[in-house]
């Protein structure tokens, strides 16, 4: 029997907690290793920090990795193909300066998609991840209309051979899950972050916004970060630098 990463971390945490805590071991690290039976906690808030200065114009590594990870097969029909993350180009008309950046579900603290959902399918988890409960989604697409970021997609076609950890089906709305299966497994990263790092761009940082010692919090403290449409006061979990 082999252990997956999360089980290993859980056992490791239990063993460490049982032993005398040596200097240099912080209790906060023990809290982070969640066991399989433990629910997500509001002590964390997961987010991404995207440095648009490091994001290359024609690179789609994050988009491709997301599609592979979550089994999103593109049928070559752009009008209806689901899109969890997309690259956009922006241009300052006065200077001609262009930006390239990925846009995905912003995992808002006050998500408009949750406000408008008539069945309660659109929901926010304790750790700040905004998800669609497809068991009760009726496919009305109110959330798609309410989202200011165009982050959600409707599944128009029958889907087969889904990934076991990413169920997807016709007639429901879906969006970025912040690789919730990877977070729950204890991977501590997302597919897009991994791909960006692998491509040598290091433009995406994944981490806990509530942990002051996390890389994402430190970078936000030192270099700042902006939200897209900050005027809507949604307190997004995805922040951008260089915008």
């Amino acid at each position: 029997m082999s252990l997956n990463r999360r089980e290993f971390l859980g056992i490791g945490a239990a063993v460490t907690a049982g032993a005398a805590i040596a200097p240099g071991i912080r209790l906060i690290e023990l809290v982070q290793a969640r066991s399989l039976e433990e629910a997500a906690s509001a002590q964390q808030r997961w987010g991404l920090l995207i440095d648009t200065n490091k994001c290359t114009r024609n690179c789609t590594a994050c988009v491709d990795a997301c599609f592979v990870e979550n089994g999103i097969g593109n049928k070559g029909r752009p009008a209806t193909d689901p899109q969890w993350i997309r690259k956009i180009e922006t241009k300052d008309p006065s200077t001609g300066y262009t930006h390239s950046l990925p846009v995905l579900c912003q995992h808002c603290d006050y998500p408009p998609c949750v406000d408008v959902c008539p069945t309660g399918a659109s929901m926010k988890r304790a750790d700040g991840i905004v998800l669609v409960d497809k068991h009760i989604c009726i496919g009305c697409r109110f959330c798609m209309m309410a989202c200011p970021y165009k982050a959600r997609s409707f599944v128009h076609e029958v889907i087969t051979d889904q990934k076991a950890y990413a169920p997807r089906g016709k007639g429901t709305v879906e969006s970025c899950t912040l690789c919730v299966h990877k977070i729950d497994r204890g991977d501590g990263t997302t597919a897009c972050t991994e791909a960006c790092n692998k491509g040598g761009h290091q433009a995406i940082i994944f981490g806990d916004l509530k942990d002051p010692n996390s890389e994402i919090s430190k970078s936000l403290r030192e270099k700042g970060g902006r939200q897209i449409r900050a005027d809507l006061k949604l307190n997004t979990g995805i922040r951008y630098q260089g915008l």
């Binding site: 029997m1 969640r34 399989l36 304790a126 889904q162 076991a164 169920p167 089906g169 016709k170 497994r185």
Partner: protein, 129 residues
């Protein structure tokens, strides 16, 4: 006397025919009952009579706690069911002799699970066992 012997032979022949038919009937599977092929896993997570009757409630509870709270316990997860019960030939729990669909078609109850969830065993499931 010859007539009596002939009659006797007829009766014996009829008796033999009936016996043969009943034996043949016993050997033929009753097509009205579902085919349940359990090929993997020594024991279910619950006693058979409990899981047969209650599996829908276990799955309903697990789905809500997993999706909404992030509890990923394996005991009553659909993934765990599929990994154990998928047909070794098709790697699936649906299809004509699939573990789920054979009973569900017998009971005339539609399964919605597999319009979103995969009906296939995870590729590394065997190594996890």
């Amino acid at each position: 006397m010859a007539l009596f012997r002939e009659r006797c032979a007829q009766y014996v022949a009829i008796a033999v025919l009936f016996t043969a038919t009943s034996v043949f009937a016993a050997d033929t599977p009753n097509t009205l009952l579902p085919t349940i092929n359990i090929t993997q896993g020594e024991k279910c997570v619950e006693p058979t009579d409990v899981i047969r009757k209650e599996h829908k409630y276990f799955l309903l509870h697990q789905r809500d706690s997993t999706l909404r709270e992030g509890v990923r316990s394996k005991k009553h997860s659909l993934k765990n069911c599929v990994n154990c019960h998928a047909d070794p030939k098709t790697d699936s729990v649906i299809g004509e002799e699939g573990f789920c669909s054979s009973c569900h078609s017998y009971a005339a109850v539609t399964i919605d699970c597999f319009s979103c969830h995969t009906d296939k065993r995870e590729s590394n499931a065997a190594s996890l066992k």
